[in-house]
């Protein structure tokens, strides 16, 4: 019942490539990338309620960076380790999806 001759793709399963069709879901799958510790991403979609830091600040591990309100819960996002705030990609009031890059960090030289 196929209207035209389908175009098969080379599809590798272990060491062999098979001729086959791909599904939409497979084509649209999310590519994995190694998460950088210097990127603070949203773990849940929500609204940025308050930002406590400015670009250039050196913030200690465990201090609050911002409040992300999601599902009626105010989540306090903390500094994962002591670092400098390199770039803030959100503003108070912005609604963001999951996995969006909120804040970029930069290493600080530890003083001897």
């Amino acid at each position: 019942m196929q209207k035209e001759k389908p175009v098969y793709t080379d599809f590798a399963v272990t060491a062999r490539k098979y001729k086959t069709l791909l599904t939409k879901k497979y084509i649209n799958r999310k590519q994995w990338s190694n998460p950088s510790p210097y990127e603070v991403q949203s773990i849940i979609p929500g609204t940025v309620l308050k930002i406590f830091v400015k670009e250039g600040d050196i913030v200690q591990e465990g201090e609050a960076i911002l409040i992300l309100e999601a599902m009626k819960m105010q989540n306090r996002i903390q500094m994962p380790f002591t670092a400098r705030i390199k770039k803030i990609n959100v503003a108070e009031g912005s609604r963001i999806p999951k996995d969006s890059l909120m804040i970029e960090l930069e290493a600080v030289e530890t003083e001897q």
Binding site: V13, Y18, T20, L21, L22, K25, W32
Partner: protein, 514 residues
Amino acid sequence: MTLKKNILALRQKKAIVEKGGGDKAIEKQVAMGKMTARDRILALLDAGSFHEYDLFVEHEERNFGMDGKELAGDGVITGTGTIKGAPICIYAQDFTVMGGSLGLKHARKITKIMDHALRMKVPCIGINDSGGARIQEGIGALAGYGEIFLRNTMASGVIPQISVILGPCAGGAVYSPALTDFVFVVENISKMFITGPNVIETVLGEKISQEDLGGARVHAEITGNAHFYAQSELECFEQIKQLISLIPHSNQQKAVSEEPKKPKSGKNIENIIPSDPKQPYDVRDIIYALTDDSKFLEVHELWATNIVIGFGRLNGETVGFVANQPLYLAGVLDCDASDKAGRFIRYCDAFNIPIITLEDMPGYLPGVDQEHAGVIRHGAKMLYAYSEATVPKITVILRKAYGGGYIAMNSRHLGADFMLAWPSAEIAVMGPEGAANIIFRKEIMEAEDEDAMRQQKVQEYIEKFANPYVAASKGYIDAVIEPMETRDMILHALEVSKNKDDYRPAKKHGVPPF
């Protein structure tokens, strides 16, 4: 004379309630491209077979302006009837009555007909077309949903439960269909989601249409929540009739037999599969070459297309097919395919339908997304389902049977009753290229011409191991058969499995990897 008057009064009373939400609401329903709840029931059931109950049930809500508000049948039509002669229970939500919203009495009408279906051991069909919970009734509506879910669960595996989504079905309402065996959707009409586009936009600022979020196509193709997809309501009803005629009407019955028929003389079964194991073909052509009249009712036709499941008849009796589909993703097993096949196997087992497994797959789909999506847990569903099933289980290895997938596809080791293999079968721990690279790594690396040596070793491996005879020599394969013999061998296997009695340890229930 009074009786005559009473009869006339009854007719009048019925005529009013049968109008549902009235002419204006019906006009709106039709303008949306939808049939009315009553017309749907009449179109689905055998002519003249529908008998309605609880026509005069009324809601009891007194708050929020509901006092004295008349809702015909409280927004749902319930009753019994027949489909191709088979008795069934049915309910249809009436969108013309307050948006088909579910209040306590509406729910109680549904649970009453469900209880009836379970006692009488007949299939239960629910037509969903409802805006959701009737907010005015508050907790009463939630109680109603809960009482339906409980019955869905009690009836699961005892009677077939079919959900037909012919309108919105949102929030808590979606969980009744999700608990039933088969969900039918229709293009442009069905909409299912837990939280609708409005909530998503308010909370997240993401704009999406109802259709893109939870339309028929989405559930048939992406989520797998729907088992059957149709372009129109009438096509959908034809699919339901076909399904009802194929499946047993309770777990204590067998499906109604039909006159045995030979497959149509279509493609020669020997010419369907390319001899090059890297080339694809449509495994449904093999199924058509095996089934009576070459008929096959595919379930989940659009979702996880790398595995094919569905019902057909062999010598007039219903069987379930599970077949790898090399046409898509080379027929690999992945999360969705395992999920799809696992549930189907459990359905067949619950309803005494023998399972025919057709195998041609290169293994599990490699990839971070698969691993992180839990392919271990999902893949295990299939192992569990096959191992647990006590119905006759017959496997035919057509071509590739590699690695973990070989075990998963109803192998002897999981309890297959009959293991048949075509001479083209390659049963091995992995594909020849991969295996040769590992086993002969040293020889290949030390060779002057690595590629030539690799080719030679791959060839050696193919000749020695990529065939059915190693497995046959160990008794893991019962018979190596010619493709032309396949149907007769399966028919015979079914014949001698008729009184199959399989032992399972006593337990309350297992703990499958849901």
